[in-house]
């Protein structure tokens, strides 16, 4: 049973560029959430997708956007990258039917130079 898979694992981008990160949820899960984790901090909630719609959003600017596809996979897009966007981006999936909390992927480490 595949867990949550994220791609790519590492990424280096230049300030001002745009980036797309991808996430495939755990089998049987229908909800995908994205988190940003700066070095030495706990993860911060970005947004959550369910039924292809953004359901909840944290305190992140509009430069952060997302999408969920019919197969429940999701993308996180960040425009006009800033140096401060350098972080580990974590995807978490869950099931609204079953509960039992969230399962996290291994993350994408984004470095903005």
């Amino acid at each position: 049973d595949a867990g949550v898979t994220q791609s790519p694992t590492h990424l280096i981008k230049t300030r001002g560029q745009q980036v797309t990160l991808r996430c495939s949820p755990k089998s049987g899960h229908d909800t995908v959430s994205w988190y940003q984790q700066a070095l030495g901090q706990g993860p911060q909630f970005i947004f959550q997708y369910y039924e292809e719609e953004e359901r909840q959003r944290g305190n992140f600017p509009d430069r952060f956007s997302g999408h969920q596809f019919p197969n429940y996979s999701s993308e996180l897009n960040v425009n006009a990258l800033l140096l401060g966007d350098s972080a580990l981006y974590l995807c978490a999936s869950s099931s609204r039917q079953v509960g039992y909390g969230y399962t996290f992927g291994s993350g994408t480490r984004l470095t903005v130079v």
Binding site: G42, P43, Q44, Y102, F104
Partner: protein
């Protein structure tokens, strides 16, 4: 919003020792999870425990929802237990997780 406080922030143990990590939260929650983040960044779900007690091998956890705290017990610690332990809570079962700042555990051989 809900505040989550974890203690201690840092913990150094000798292999074989036992430890207790604490998580206090400021409001009622329907989701509480303990995670272990390994040195490569992977967040591994240890327990989903909004209330009650659970055990998994050398690890166990207890959440007293009415008093708004949770405890994670690690017995007979091993070097592979090293890493950061996070407590995270959410109001609803599908609500966004709010993380504490974590407890950094170092187990020495």
């Amino acid at each position: 919003g809900i505040q989550v406080e974890q203690s201690p922030p840092d913990l150094i143990l000798q292999e074989g020792a036992n430890s207790t990590l604490r998580c206090n939260f400021s409001d009622s929650v329907n989701n509480l999870q303990w995670f272990h983040q390994n040195p490569w960044g992977q967040l591994i779900n240890l327990f989903y425990i909004p209330s009650g007690t659970k055990q998994n091998g050398r690890l166990s956890a207890t959440t007293v929802a009415t008093e708004r705290y949770s405890l994670l017990y690690i017995s007979s610690s091993q070097t592979t237990d090293s890493g950061v332990y996070f407590c995270a809570v959410a109001r609803g079962s599908q609500g966004n997780l709010i993380f504490g700042k974590g407890t950094k555990l170092s187990v020495k051989p």
